[in-house]
Amino acid sequence: MYSTLRAYAPSGQEPFFLELAAGATVSSALEALGIPEKTAKVVLLNGRNASASDSLSQGDLLVLFPPVEGG
């Protein structure tokens, strides 16, 4: 979790491990982290764009950052 979304990391640090129930999705991970649905964000699952309904498996890497105006 980067930039302004880092505030939602449990200890304010990253990377960290997140334990979720079997059958968890990207959406349930975001809920567990307390990130409001309306907060604009880019979500990557193992380096690819993720959608809320994507299933998560053991060892998956989830990356979150706010949209950026340019680089």
Binding site: S3, T4, A7, L44, N49, P67, V68, G70, G71
Partner: protein
């Protein structure tokens, strides 16, 4: 005519003659300003096959109708000319305070032709303009030049100038303004140097006439209110950490160019990330004229041997001088950035040339004797020293100053230069970001990310996310964003604000907010269709110029590494850039022949013939 002054300053340097020329209303309306008016004049006055260092090559500095008006990020101008790096047209953009000051002095732009018999600078004090001797300034760096010129003119004057690199015709020399802002790419500073023109100094306190001043003011207030609401909980990432915050995106997508584009994953990325820059060297953030984002970085490095202070590094710089050279020493990257600013050079092409040399050295193509030192990826001291030597054309720096393509060609390996049309790649790996590959190959100035940046929708979530590895869906979107950037660059706005705040959040990016601003400022009464057509007209006018210079599909290409060597690791592992498939569809979308030439029907439709 409102919004535009309708006034251009013409300066013939060989004769020392200055006069005023009308910017005709129909030209202003059809080409908007900035980049658009620039290509209009280049088409009219330049020889497409001419020598960039010939006096006949016009150096066109053009602001937009929103520059200096107070419209959010209306701070920018475009420098249009023939590029000594690519041999084709270029346009190079900058913000800061200088462009707004030029407009407040009552001018929409300045066109220089000819060559001074000795070094000169142009002093524009409101409606008065004169050429002054600059012999004493020749050899001074950009910071010294700016300071001296203010003492010779006015304490609050704004300066655009070249440094020693521009004087020595380094092929990627920049024009620096307000100390550390750069019209960086393609060697516009070398063209200025070839004209013996050291600087342009401007003082202007006038008002820009607006069509509907009250409506314009209300519109700006509404835009700023919306912007502040978007960021009420947390400031924009660009203000917090600068453009180098983008490293988090490119690294995680596996498109952060590393060791001359041999990989898209850089193990030392966290050391050069924008967040690290904030922790280690940031003094303050800094905004251009009328900008609510404030992405500029004022920094200071106290660590020997890389001490210094100035502005930067931006994302493109931490890629070019950092990951692409395998350097994870942020102090060294920042120091090399300071040197580029002071000597007046593009950090992207500088890093690309050094990375190319590093790969050639590691492959045994370049010997230690030729370089004058051992050279390998990751060598932070070599990075800084070679940057200095390039700006002064000392030793091996004289070869680096020719740019990566000429360097690699000299040693028989042009395929090791990561360029398109001779222009060095920006900080995005085209195999892992297919739309960027198409944008690099078809950009009128060569491999620029700022002539229709697909990173917004491929990586940065603006306005949505499209898979960076897909290619079949990219041609119409890339074409649309190229036209959009023509509008932004011509209006005098900054892309960073425009794409999120002045464009309806749809993939095909209708520029409704820009239309409203332009209409309130100018009274031109653009419809959305007319404005989008103007963007397409400008892009096609640039393409016409390229066609006249002999460019076609053959030049719309990428190095073999991108087309034939699969990406070795990361999310895009195994991918090559599917350029040929995209090009065929892209030309069809554009209404061009399959050789990449605009058809007569398309040109007639756009009023270009």
């Amino acid at each position: 005519m409102k919004g535009w002054h309708g006034r251009l300053l013409r300066v013939e340097l060989s004769e020392g003659r200055i006069w005023e020329e009308e910017l005709k209303e129909e030209v202003a309306r059809d080409f908007i300003g900035g980049r658009g008016v620039g290509i209009h004049y280049l088409l009219k006055e330049a020889d497409p096959k001419g020598d960039p260092f010939c006096g006949k090559n016009p150096l066109i500095m053009m602001a937009g109708p929103l520059t200096g008006t107070g419209a959010p990020t209306g701070a920018r101008y475009m420098v249009t000319t023939l590029s000594p790096l690519t041999g084709a047209l270029t346009c190079s953009n900058s913000g800061g305070m200088f462009p707004a000051e030029l407009r407040r002095a009552g001018w929409d732009g300045i066109i220089f032709t000819g060559k001074g018999s000795h070094p000169v600078y142009l002093w524009v004090d409101g409606s008065k303009a004169e050429l002054r001797d600059a012999t004493e300034l020749w050899g001074k760096n950009t910071h010294q030049t700016e300071q001296t010129l203010r003492s010779q003119t006015h304490a609050q004057a704004k300066v655009a100038c070249i440094g020693p690199a521009g004087e020595r015709l380094v092929r990627f020399a920049s024009i620096m303004n307000d100390k550390d802002r750069a019209a960086g790419r393609s060697g516009v500073g070398a063209v200025m140097g070839s004209k013996n023109l050291k600087a342009v100094v401007v003082r202007g306190k006038g008002k820009i006439p607006l069509h509907d001043p009250d409506g314009f003011k209300e519109l700006n207030a509404r835009l700023l209110k919306k912007f502040n609401e978007t960021y009420k909980d947390a400031p924009p990432p660009l203000r917090l950490h600068g453009t180098a915050v983008t490293v988090m995106a490119t690294q995680n997508y596996g498109v952060f160019p590393t060791r001359n584009f041999q990989s898209g994953i850089f193990p030392g990325w966290e050391a050069i990330h924008g967040e690290t820059l904030s922790k280690r060297f940031l003094v303050s953030h800094k905004a251009c004229f009328a900008c609510p984002i404030s992405c500029g970085r004022v920094t200071r490095v106290s660590e020997p041997p890389f001490e210094g202070e100035g502005e930067g590094p931006e994302y493109e710089t931490v890629y070019a001088l950092g990951s692409n050279c395998g350097v994870d020493n942020l102090a060294a990257v920042t120091k090399a950035n300071y040197l580029c600013n002071e000597l007046g050079m593009d950090t992207i092409s500088m890093g690309s040339a050094i990375a190319c040399a590093m790969e050639m050295a590691e492959r045994g193509i370049l010997s230690e004797k030729e370089v004058g030192r051992h050279l390998a990826f990751g060598d932070a001291e070599a990075l800084v020293e070679l940057t200095r030597m390039t700006g002064l054309r000392e030793g091996f720096g004289d070869l680096l100053a020719e740019g990566s393509l000429r360097l690699a060609t000299r040693y028989g390996h042009p395929e090791l230069a990561m360029v398109s049309k001779g222009q060095d790649f920006a900080g995005y790996e085209p195999r892992g970001e297919q739309g960027m590959g198409l944008a690099y190959a078809t950009s009128p100035i060569g491999a620029s990310h700022m002539r229709g940046d697909p990173a917004y929708f491929e990586l940065l979530g603006v306005p949505c996310n499209v898979d960076p590895l897909s290619w079949k869906d990219k041609p119409p979107v890339v074409a649309k964003w190229q036209d959009l950037f023509c509008i932004i660059d011509s209006a005098g706005l900054c892309v960073f604000f425009s794409v999120r705040n002045l464009v309806r959040p749809e993939l095909m990016a209708p520029p409704v907010g820009i239309m409203e601003l332009l209409n309130a400022a100018t009274g031109a009464g653009y419809t959305l269709e007319e404005l989008e057509r103007a963007g397409e007209r400008i892009f096609n006018a640039e393409r016409m110029f390229l066609a006249k210079a002999g460019f076609s599909r053959k030049q719309d290409t990428l190095p073999p590494r991108m087309l034939r060597e699969p990406l070795p690791e990361g999310p895009g592992k195994g991918m090559v850039c599917h350029l040929e498939e995209m090009l065929t569809d892209y030309y069809r979308v554009r209404g061009w022949t399959q050789e990449g030439i605009p058809t007569n029907q398309k040109l007639k439709e756009l009023g270009l013939m």
